[in-house]
């Protein structure tokens, strides 16, 4: 199931905070479908380390980011 989340009218850091919160609540096999006004490049790094995959579509002002779990998180402790 795709779980929708619209963060396009939120100021930083709310979009990232809400996306991460939604990911913790995401059931196995579900995907988070995020709507955002900009491409959240800093989020990708966190997603990759936490074992999520994503697909981004759209253009300036209207992006859709589909996120799903692929592997257990990588915990190397660095930033």
């Amino acid at each position: 199931m795709d779980v929708p989340l619209d963060v396009s009218a939120l100021e930083p850091p709310e979009p990232m905070r809400q996306i991460l919160e939604a990911l913790f609540d995401l059931a196995d096999g579900d995907r988070l479908c995020v709507r955002h006004r900009r491409e959240p490049f800093p989020l990708y790094d966190i997603l990759q380390r936490m074992g999520y995959a994503w697909e981004t579509s759209g253009s300036e002002g209207r992006f859709q980011i589909l996120i799903w779990r692929t592997a257990p998180p990588v915990t190397d402790g660095s930033d």
Binding site: L20, E21, F41, Y44, D45, P73, G77
Partner: protein, 433 residues
Amino acid sequence: MLSTAGLSLEQAPPIHIPFRFFLTAPLFLLAAALLLALKGDSLLASRWSPAALAVTHLIVVGFLGQVMSGALLQMLPVVAGSPVPSVRLVGGTVNPLLAVGAGMLAWGLLGGGGMALSVGAVCASLGFLVLVLSAGLALLRARGAPQTVRAMGLALGSLLVAVVLGLVLTEALSGRIWILQFPAWVDVHLAWGLLGWVGLLVMGVAFQVVPMFHVTPPYPKWLSFWLPPLAAAALLLGTLRLVSDTYEAGVAATGVLALAFSLFALVTLGLQARRERKRVDATLLHWWSAMVCVLLAALCWLLAGPPVVTGILLLLGAGVGVVSGMLFKIVPFLAWFHLQHRQLTSGKLQVRVPNMLTFLPDRPARLQLACHLLALVGTLAAWAVPVLIVPAGIALALSAALLGGLILRALVRFRRVAMAIEASPPSTHPEAM
């Protein structure tokens, strides 16, 4: 569909890199403020006075140059998905070079001698050159925000022109070469530095941060597409008129620049009036005052007002104002983001990451804004009542000290939470969210 393959694991530079720039910058604003208070009388007498030239370089190279370089290294991966290559080396090189450059340039211009001036010019130029090359490479690899990327590219190009002109002018000041129309070339150097480098970078960054942080509609596409190249073309025209010696071309170039930046200020104020996030914070107030200063500077030029007043409005009112305001958003966001990142990637979720206001509260930020505005009004009024330059300088020193203190406070808070995360046991429970 956009590809996610090949994305660097290290999108953002380590937090100490931008913070190094942000903590160094207020020291130069403080130095400029003290110079203003101590040598204000000669400073206002002529824009060519050694004190005026020293203050200008302390602010443009030491304060604005430091903050904007640090912000650029940080923002390129965030807004354009393109990290600056070898960012640790670049940060560790540009920061000290600009610091020595600004200090020695100011010292040399104040009468410290040709050697100090040359060392300052070479250090500042090398610092900016490393920035232009590394940030330029990152811009070539940018994957998003095309209008911002273009404005940033034009800003870096302008910086390069300002640096080359600065080096040539330093040689002339040291008596090694002789330049026809020396004052006019100084004006061109100033225009590329202040309107090109500072102005175009602020414009490009605004296209991202104004809609992002104040939740406004986006800038109109025609504006973000045409305005930066139009301003850059006007700067080029203003430079070429010196070669061709055409007075009308110079006036036309300045007119286009005044129009372009006024339009940018008006549209920014209009977008902010339509913001969804209604709260008025210190950043927004800094933006408002800076944009009003841009409009007043254009008006001052149109009415053939004193160039010193136009300079104060652009340098102190618009440049220092908008950059200080943006620091109030960038600094706490960085602290929050790096802690969040550290926590999630280490799996240590027991410690709660504080919200952004904990790192940089609004009340002291408003106090900094009040000092900044007092300094601005005092410096402008001192043009008519020279004695006011002393309290204006003191107010600017206070604003610089508050700015530096607030950034340091945010860093101390960051370290405290980072140590708490480090000491906590791993957990999979999302209490920290």
